[in-house]
């Protein structure tokens, strides 16, 4: 009823194949592209596992910060950007920074784990 391997497992296998077989067999721009695609596969594997939770947490944070109960993450992010661009100063500075930092940390855990260790 459920196809195997799972999407994250397949993506990890695709990344490994690219990195171990394709990258060494290429040179120049093609090698660079293969490296980039391998890395994107790893990112997508992590996004499959953690992306939905991260988005839910961002929605909850933004609802609190903006006082808006919308459930569409894109709309909430757009509202925050628009209010920041219009120099809206009605934010609690500490809470604003916390929300931005928490969002970045969650996205970084998907895009580049370990980056915040340094």
């Amino acid at each position: 009823m459920i196809d195997q391997p799972s999407a994250p497992d397949l993506l990890d296998a695709m990344a490994a194949t690219l990195a171990e077989s394709v990258v060494p067999a290429c040179e120049g721009p093609a090698q660079h592209a293969a490296r980039v695609v391998a890395n994107l596969c790893r990112i997508l594997a992590r996004e499959f596992q953690h992306g939905a939770d991260a988005t839910s947490q961002t929605i909850a944070d933004l609802q609190g910060l903006l006082g808006n109960n919308a459930v569409d993450a894109d709309a909430l992010v757009a509202e925050l950007e628009q209010r920041l661009a219009s120099a809206d100063s009605a934010f609690d500075d500490d809470e604003l920074f916390r929300v931005l930092k928490a969002n970045v940390d969650r996205r970084l855990a998907v895009a580049k784990p370990g980056y915040s260790d340094n």
Partner: protein, 339 residues
């Protein structure tokens, strides 16, 4: 990789170096380098009489995504000016805006040995750690010399960021560039807002700024800094912008133990810069470090936007969208340290 099948190109290149002062040259294209998103780079051999000159041609195919409005002829003038004040450069053999010669604006320079690809440079330094100390000092010296060259001899089309307050103008530019991107980036917007609220005092005098001085745009070899390349983002502005740019985390390419460029420490860079006559302003350094971090975050978002809107189908530009968060992290870390 021989590309001797491009006779028109070699004739055009010969004309460019002849106009640059090389007597009766003949040119052979010996290879094609891959680096550079908006420029094609060719390896050449230029023969003139009994002299054989290894050379490089950079042929522009399109205007750079962010800024770059200088002509290649003015860029060549600028490189000659930098050379005259002691900045190591690849000497210019010729430059032309005439698209009929090789299909686009072109600069031909002498070829200097040594890698420019960041990963290759870091590998060289890992294998020869003693180069690092020389290299970081040479970077500080080169920047200090450039910044003391004065702006009187600057080419006419060199962009200026010195009307009023360079930092304030820069904040406006960042806002406008971000406005032009389809998707919202609240962290970048927050960062620009912070920059606008925390402007540093301007430098006493504006200076010629390289604008892209970092691993990837430098030839590094056993002697250290072989040449400073890629002058197309040069402009007149705050000297601390250049020094700070080299220190952005993203240009360390993972060499976190060496925060200044992936080569050395901030203190080593500062010492060399000051010994060579530069004036280090710590507040401005920190501000420009933050500002250029925001700029590159916007740059990556711009590349991703160009993929999203169909301007490019480059997978590298698509992947840039997933790198914006690294710059956002760096940006918030710098702001947090300055709060």
């Amino acid at each position: 990789m021989a590309t001797g099948s491009e006779p028109d190109l070699t004739e055009g290149l010969a004309q460019v170096v002849a106009e640059g002062g090389i007597a009766s040259p003949s040119v052979e294209v010996t290879g094609v380098a891959s680096a550079g998103a908006t420029r094609r780079t060719l390896f050449l051999t230029v023969e003139s009489g009994t002299e054989t000159i290894p050379a490089v041609a950079q042929i522009s195919s399109a205007k750079s995504l962010l800024g770059a409005s200088m002509t290649v002829e003015d860029e060549a003038k600028l490189v000659r000016l930098a050379e005259s004040v002691g900045v190591p450069v690849a000497g210019v053999l010729g430059a032309s805006e005439n698209n009929d010669l090789v299909g686009g604006p072109v600069v031909v320079t002498r070829r200097i040995d040594g890698p420019t690809i960041p990963r290759h440079v870091l590998r060289l330094l890992d294998g020869n750690p003693s180069i690092r100390e020389t290299l970081i000092a040479q970077c500080g010296q080169a920047l200090a010399k450039l910044h003391q060259a004065g702006t009187d001899g600057a080419p006419d089309s060199l962009p200026r960021l010195d009307a009023g307050h360079p930092a304030e103008s820069y904040v406006q530019q960042l806002h406008l560039t971000l406005d032009g991107i389809g998707d919202p980036y609240p962290v970048l917007r927050y960062g620009i807002r912070w920059l606008g609220e925390n402007l540093p005092l301007p430098a006493e005098k504006p200076a010629i700024i390289h604008g892209d001085f970092r691993n990837g745009n430098l030839i590094i070899n056993e002697t250290g800094l072989g040449a400073v390349l890629d002058w197309e983002l040069a402009h007149i502005g705050d000297p601390m912008e250049d020094v700070a740019y080299l220190c952005m985390r993203t240009w360390r390419f993972g060499a976190e133990a060496h925060p200044a460029g992936g080569f050395g420490s901030f203190d080593q860079l500062r010492d060399a810069y000051e010994v060579a006559g530069g004036t280090w302003r710590e507040d401005a350094f920190r501000w420009w470090l933050t500002a250029r971090t925001a700029w590159w975050g916007i740059g990556l978002a711009f590349q991703a936007d160009n993929f999203a809107n169909g301007t490019t189908n480059s997978i590298v530009h698509a992947a840039s969208g997933r790198r914006v968060v690294e710059l956002e992290y760096d940006l918030l870390s710098l702001i947090e340290a300055g709060l």
